[in-house]
Each structure stands twice: as C-alpha cells, then as structure tokens.
Amino acid sequence: MVTAVVSLMILGGLFGLGLGWAARRFRVESDPVVDRIDAILPQTQCGQCNYPGCRPYAEAIASGEAPINQCPPGGQDGIRALADLLGVEELPLNPENGAAAAPTVAVIDEAVCIGCTLCIQACPVDAIVGATKQMHTVIEDECTGCDLCLPPCPVDCIEMVERPGHAWRRPRPDRAPYGAAGPEPLASGGAAR
C-alpha cells in the first residue's frame, strides 16, 4: 500500500518535472489575441468605433469590453473575419458607428488653406505636410480616409474624395443563380466597395 502510494507520487513528480521542462523548452510563441484582432482591423485609425485607434479597439475586443461590430471601414467582411477568429456570432454593423463606404482620401483646397497646422496635429498617420502659415497638403498614398482632419479645420478647406485607382473591381459572376434558390446574398462589405 505505502509502496504503491510512494512510487506513484515519485512517478507523478517526475512526470510533472518533465512536462514543466518541456513546456519551457518547446514553448510555442503564439500571437497574443490582441495582435491577431489588430491584424484584421483596417488600420484607418479613424476612431469611429469610439476608441482612439485600431489598437485600442483591438484591446477592448480582446478584453470583452467592446462588441465586434463597431468598425465601419472594415465592413461586414471584417466583422466576419473577427467572428471567425473569436468563435462568436457574426453581427450586423452597428449603425451608430457609421456605415461602410468606399475608401476615401482627404484633399486640401490649397487656395483656401490658411496654414494653421490643426489638421496636421489631428492626422493619426502623419499624412499631411505643411508648416505654420504655409500651405498644407495631403500625401495621398499615406491617407487612410479617417476624416479626423475635417473637424479641426477652421476654414473647411478639406474634402473627402473617393480613393483613385480602385474604381473597378471584377464583379461576382453570379449570372445565373443555382436552381430556384435565388441569388446568393452578396458579401455586403466587399460588394458595396
């Protein structure tokens, strides 16, 4: 009886040590969930989700504080990807956060700009160049279309326009739907673009 108990305890201890060593030695570096959520978010840094950027929203989703349907630029595709990642139900986009829209870029009317630098300070990705009392301009390739430069502008000289070069996408070839089932629902986010 005693022998059995003691030997099992010793065996248990040995296996425990072995497993502990293996866990340290062969540790698999997995992405923390925040990074994986952040990788799905579109990085517009627009704050429409009520968080000051994509990373903070990713942190809020990871901690269960925020639902996954607050990102309009990501669209329904983004919500689906988040739902797949987190194993939760796909939700429709919360209309309070805005509607999915075509990607845009900001354009400054350079004749009207007074050089106040307020938009430069507001831009989350440093896409606006200029200096005090000098004309400002937007670097089109860097602009994420977040709209954050619009409110601070005292002379309303910034306009959002559709991002060039993305006008045409090959359409879904749903020309004749299967049987009588009717057309498949289109991926709203992708199709809207």
């Binding site: 595709d77 896409a127 993305h166 996408r169 004749a176 992708g190």
Partner: protein, 522 residues
C-alpha cells in the same frame, strides 16, 4: 567518386540534356482550326486614319504619357514610360501628330474605356534617329538588356510581362537555358506559326541575343509536332546561324502545352514551384515573337510598335495573319481580311479558350493581341442555365495546374479567401479546360478570375493597413518621446531653480554670519 549537387536548377539542366519529353497533368485535345489562317502570307495593314495607343498594355499600373496634344512625334519615339521605372514602354507606331489623350475603347477585358494616345499619322512614316547595334555578339550583356528594356517589349504570348524586367531578373539569378515558346496551343491562333515559317532567322537571332543578354548556355525552341514545315524552317535558320547551342524540340499537341509552366514540365518533367518563377529552375521562357522583337530592338533599334495578329474565324471572309501597328483599330484589320461574313456574331480578342469578348471593333490592336477571332452564332456555346455542381471531378481531371476547381468554386462563392489561397487559386492559369469539361456549365474560370482579383485587392488593402499601422505606431512613439522629453526638461529646470535658490540661501546665510561677527566685535 563524383558528387552531385541536387539543386532544382542542376536537376533541370540534367533532364534537358536527356532529350526526352514528359507529360503534364490533364489538358485537352482540341480541334486546331489553324490551317484556314495559314494559307495567305503575312501582309502589312496600311496605316489607319488614326491610331489609338492605350496607356495600359503591360502587366502592372498604367503607363505615364510623355507627350502632349499637338506634339509632333517620329516613328519609334518614346511616348509613354512606366510609372515607377524610368524605361520607355510605349513608342509612336508611326510619325505624326498627337491629337489628344482621351478615354477610348482600349481592348480591356473589363470592357471599360481606358486612356489612349490618339496619333494622327502624317503618312511619311519617318523614323527617329536610330542607333543599330550590329555587332551585338561583342556587346556588353548589360547593354543588350538596357536596349531590351528601353524598347517597350513585353511577353507577346499573352501575359504581357515586361521583358526588360524579366531579363534583368533572369540575369541576376543566373540562367542555364533559354526556352523559346513556339508551341502556340490555343485553337485558331497561328501568328507564331506564320512568324516561324516566314522569319526563322530573326527568331534564331533573337534567341542568340537573349542567350547572351542573360548569360545562358543553350536555347531550346519548342514547337508543336503538327506544325509541319516550321521545324525545317527553324532548323535551317539554326544551321545558317552557325550556332551549335540551339535546339529545336517538337512537343505533343495537347492544350495547354504552350503555357509557360506546362511547357517547362513537358521539357524537364519538373514543376515550377507554386509562387515561384522558371528562374528557380534556371530557365527563362520567352515567346518566339518576343525573341523577334528583341532581335529588332537590338540590331535595328526598332522598338515594339507592331505585331503579327491572326484575324480568323467563321465570321471573317479571308482569314489570314496581318502585321499591324499597335493602336490600329480592329475594324481596319477586319476590312483588310475581307470584312465580316454574314455569320459573324461575336468578336473575341485572343483565342477561344482564354480570349475575351470585345463590344466593338473600334478597340485597337494592343501588344497582347495575338488573335482577333470572329465567331459565328453556331460556334458559341448556347446560353445554358448553370446547374449545381455534381462533384464529378471532370474539372480536376483536366486541370493542367493540378488544382481542384470544384473546391475552388465552392470556397470562392462562400467568400472564404484564406481557403481559396490555400487551394492554390494563384496557380490557376485560366486556361479554360475546366469550363469546357464541366457538365453543369459552371463558368468556373469566371469565378477564378473574380477570386484572383479579390485576393489581389485584399493583399493590397492588407499592405495599406500594415503601412498605416506602422505610421500610426511611429507617430505614437514620437508623441510619447516628445512628451517625455518635455517632462524631463521641466524637471531639469526645476532642479536648476532649486539649486540656484539653495546657493542663494547659502550665500545669504554666510553674509548673515559675517555681519553677525562684525557686529559682535566692537
């Protein structure tokens, strides 16, 4: 004992030396319909009233026009260049005046208009000053590559990949064999066959120049076994050139054996790795017409401003091959080939398998235009309702890329993009075999093209997002650093102030002590 280095490129070289042919998976034997357009010799189409040169004729973003409306240009002058690379990529097909740069039908698969340079020929067809390089055999390979890149040559087999870039990559990676692709496998198309019959010397010259430009040891010219006189013509040209490192190889005619990857598999038995390039096997594959363009670019300083186009099909009165300037409206070619027959029902750019329909013959000839096919109503597949996939597997059996089209179809319809990529959507060559084999009439290739464009868009969006993230993070780091530095400066100032006060207090105390002493003395 000798040791062997088994790298894929050594393997490919050894297998090429064996001089045997292999098979690729799937494929279809199709009716060729090539004879009809091979009866008349290649003829030049007269200059049209106006040429429409689209700015987008190569893989990648649209070119930037370097001419302005009203400007006079000479034949062969550069009129457009790649946006990011400096090299010229579009050249004036003839001398004349640039009338405008406008949106016009531009022979695009999307059917949308594109920016075209409208050139009004002056009829003199006057060349710009040319600097032919006759002694190419002694020239620096880098100079040869520079000339190729500056002549606007793209792959004329259909992929329109810039040849200058391809040759630069090949020379940087090291190449042992140049493969010239003359196995024009798609039905109806015969422009390469006619070129090989009529200009075999130019092709061999191009092969030798390419071989020197990339530093390869040998060249293989692959042709189809049913091309008849072509083989003798090419062999004669090889013998005349005196080159002993060029070989003509006949491959079995099975569509799509003329695809780059399929041809390599036929010749070596090796697959180009998924996502890889033929350079991984030490190979450079070029179309025979591209080789001719290379020869002309180097030895005549003649950029790519014209090409041979097959004008054929039941809808054409006298099917034949025509040499046309880039930008010539298709209507002019059709008129030269005797006009339309009463059967004409659809205009296709390219062959019946991989070509795309055009809405009008106002579309111009582009660098990729190997064939203008006019089909009759009887040749079109009747518009049949698409039926559900019965998972018969016919599509997988004929797929030359060894993919599973039925699975790809399923995941693309469900917008499962990661799965689509995992099923190898990128490796689809859009040959159309699965479409033809499908008993349920599912437009599989349409779906795959859509899926590929979605994957591409997604990758671009992902890239943009990563870039934005990096900029956001760096801005955050900068703002934090500035704040930290400001705090530090404030703290330093405070400390300095306190130190100054302490010093003052010390001095004051010393003064006070001294005064006390003085007062106590008397």
């Amino acid at each position: 004992m000798t040791t062997h280095a088994f790298s894929p490129r050594d393997d490919a070289r050894a297998r090429l030396a064996e001089d045997r042919l292999y098979r690729f998976h799937g494929g279809l034997r199709l009716r060729h319909n090539k004879k009809v357009s091979c009866e008349l010799p290649v003829a030049s189409v007269p200059l049209p009233e106006r040429l429409f040169v689209p700015l987008l004729q190569h893989a990648g973003p649209e070119a930037r026009a370097t001419v302005e409306p009203g400007q006079a240009v000479l034949r062969g002058e550069s009129i457009g260049c790649f946006r990011h690379l400096g090299a010229g990529c579009l050249h004036a097909p003839t001398s004349g005046t640039v009338e405008a740069i406008v949106d016009h039908p531009a022979s695009r698969a999307s059917g949308r208009d594109g920016a075209c340079i409208v050139l009004r020929p002056d009829g003199r067809d006057e060349w710009r000053p040319r600097e032919p390089l006759v002694d190419w055999a002694a020239a620096d390979p880098a100079e040869l590559r520079r000339r190729i890149a500056g002549s606007g040559i793209v792959g004329l087999g259909g992929a329109v990949f810039p040849t200058g870039y391809k040759v630069d990559q090949a020379s940087a990676r090291g190449i042992h064999t140049v493969i010239l692709n003359g196995s024009e496998c798609e039905p109806w198309i015969s422009c390469d066959e006619m070129l090989m019959r009529e200009e075999p010397d130019a092709i061999v010259l191009g092969a030798r120049i390419l071989q020197r430009a990339v530093g390869a040891e040998q060249t293989l010219i692959a042709i189809e076994d049913q091309m008849g006189a072509v083989s003798e013509a090419l062999q004669g040209a090889v013998d005349r050139s005196g080159a002993d490192d060029i070989r003509v190889v006949k491959v079995t005619t099975i569509y799509p054996e003329g695809g780059e990857k399929q041809l390599i598999q036929v010749l070596t038995g090796l697959e180009v790795p998924s996502g890889g390039r033929p350079t991984d096997l030490g190979l450079l594959c070029q179309n025979v017409a591209t080789a001719t363009a290379v020869a002309q670019a180097v030895t005549e300083d003649k950029p790519l401003i014209e090409r041979i186009v097959t004008v054929t099909g039941p809808g054409i009165a006298r099917p034949r091959n025509l040499l046309a300037r880039i930008g010539t409206p298709i209507a002019d070619l059709v008129a030269f080939a005797g006009g339309y027959t009463p059967q004409a029902a659809r205009l296709v750019l390219g062959g019946p398998m991989m070509g795309y329909p055009l809405a009008s013959d106002a579309n111009p000839v582009i660098k990729a235009a190997n064939c203008i096919l006019v089909l009759g109503a009887a040749d079109l597949r009747a518009p049949q309702a698409e039926l559900p996939c019965i998972r018969c597997g016919e599509c997988a059996r004929v797929c030359p890329a060894v993919l599973l089209p039925q699975e790809l179809n399923r995941v693309i319809r469900a917008s499962q993009w990661d799965e689509a990529a995992a099923f190898g959507l990128h490796d689809c060559i859009e040959c159309g075999c699965c479409d033809l084999a499908c008993p349920s009439h599912i437009p599989l290739v349409e779906w795959f093209r859509y899926g590929k464009s979605e994957l591409r868009e997604r990758a671009i969006e992902r890239g943009r997002a990563e870039h934005a993230r990096a900029r956001f993070e760096s801005r955050r780091a900068r703002l934090e650093r500035i704040q930290r530095e400001r705090k530090q400066r404030m703290a330093e100032k405070k400390r300095a102030l306190r130190d100054a006060q302490e010093r003052k207090a010390k001095v004051a105390a010393a003064v006070a002590r001294a005064r006390e002493k003085q007062e106590r003395k008397p």
